[in-house]
Amino acid sequence: MFTLDWSFLSKKVVGTQTYFSWLMTAWETTLTISLFAFIIAFTLGFLMGVLRTTQNKYLVLIGNIWTEIFRNIPVLVQIFLWYFVIPKIFPIFSKLPAFALAVIALGLFTSSRISEQVRAGIQSIPTDQRYASLALGLTTYQSYRFVLLPVAFRLVLPPLTSEAMNIIKNSSVAFAVSIAELTMYAIQVQEETARGIEVYLVVTALYFISALIVNLISIVVEKSIQIPHFIGGRK
């Protein structure tokens, strides 16, 4: 029916930039947003998840509120809140570039999901282990550090992989706050080149490849930290 024409990729946009080099810049932006957002999401998500399993009800409450706030608001709405509303209330945020606001929004949204997975991971460990470690004279910190978290981390690695892949796909909402990432590239370039099918094909492929790379990394990590006879461990 139709023939694919990829010649637009080598056409000049401005200066030395071609549609191909623009595509690569856009991909880089998508990956950079995702990476920084995941660092935030992982750090805060892990912290909040752990807080929610402690014996201190105030810490549990903080963790719960955090999780519910960021989990119950759609990510697109959150990104608009960070971009349009928060800087009006706290002027300090208006000094941050849109890129940072998008990273924060995406990172906090995903942190609530990671917090939920970490909580579930820790709670799936039999309570005997917690009590046993405390009975051995370990402090709460030590029981988490040496007994609960090493197991819990291995348990939550598969869902964490999903979250890391999700963050790459969700990063497309950053387009809504004027960040020139892959989705923005797709929408603008299909108008400029009238090669909509090719543009969406190549952008789809890049999203797919990005998620696949995350998956491969996680397989390597999972292999390197596995415990024999434990979940995902050597048989």
């Binding site: 401005v14 349009f84 849109a98 387009f175 809504a176 004027s178 603008q188 299909q190 108008e191 400029e192």
Partner: protein
Amino acid sequence: MKNKFVHNALVFFAIFTMTITGAMANTLEKAKTTGKFTLAYRESSIPFSYLGEDGKPLGFGWEMCKLIAEEVKKETGRKDLVVESQAVTSQNRIPLIQNGTVDVECGSTTNNSERGKQVTFAINYFYTGTRFLVKADSGIKSINDLKGKKVVSTTGTTNYQILRNLNDEKKYGFELLGAKDHADALLMVESGMANAFGMDDILLYGLKASSKESAKLAVVGESIQVEPYAIMFRKDDPKFQALVNKVITNSIKTGEFEKAYKKWFQTNIPPKNVNLNAPMSKELKDNLKALSDKPAL
């Protein structure tokens, strides 16, 4: 959904009939024999052609279309001529003209040479170019004031492309951002996230009119890459072309054109009862004398 289905079915049917009847070259002949004349309208091209609250088309272009229908009645000598209307979109307007589903479209269609290969355009009846929507107190008066400023345009438009290329060629030194849609771009200017919104000026006037802070906004700058809008009909039909151009020329000469312009661009219009406050551009004023149908590139 249902509308879309009906619409798709219509398009399919239209294309199907075209293939069996062949394109009809002579619009007047067709109107005379079939007793029907079909005007195309757009659903939301304010103020050119759009649906009012009663679901009936209205607008600046629509009035022109009705004048043309009157003239067709006279020319064909059929007082019983049935004037029908059919909605078109920017995707299907050209195919529907070509296959005879509609006879003439008076909307916001840019007259460019690429389209000129497929259809014929009448005398240009509006001009729009990329200009900037800014806060009235921003001190920005032209593109030269944008150095170091943030300029937003809507992603997926040629305006974004034009501004990017111009910024590269002439080194205006602004930062170009892409917004998700027109409404977002407006919000970015209102909230100070961007200093200017570069877009077709007629769209800017419409957005400004619908904004709550209308008085605090201004449309500024010289038009960049001016493009004409024109009434569109089938190619290779000199008789009909002459008729349409005669209607436009007459309305210009009798002052009716300017009256219609004032009505649709400079007074309150439905559905929101806002005034676009869009003064007649220099290009249009010139063309009311030149009566040219010259396309944009």
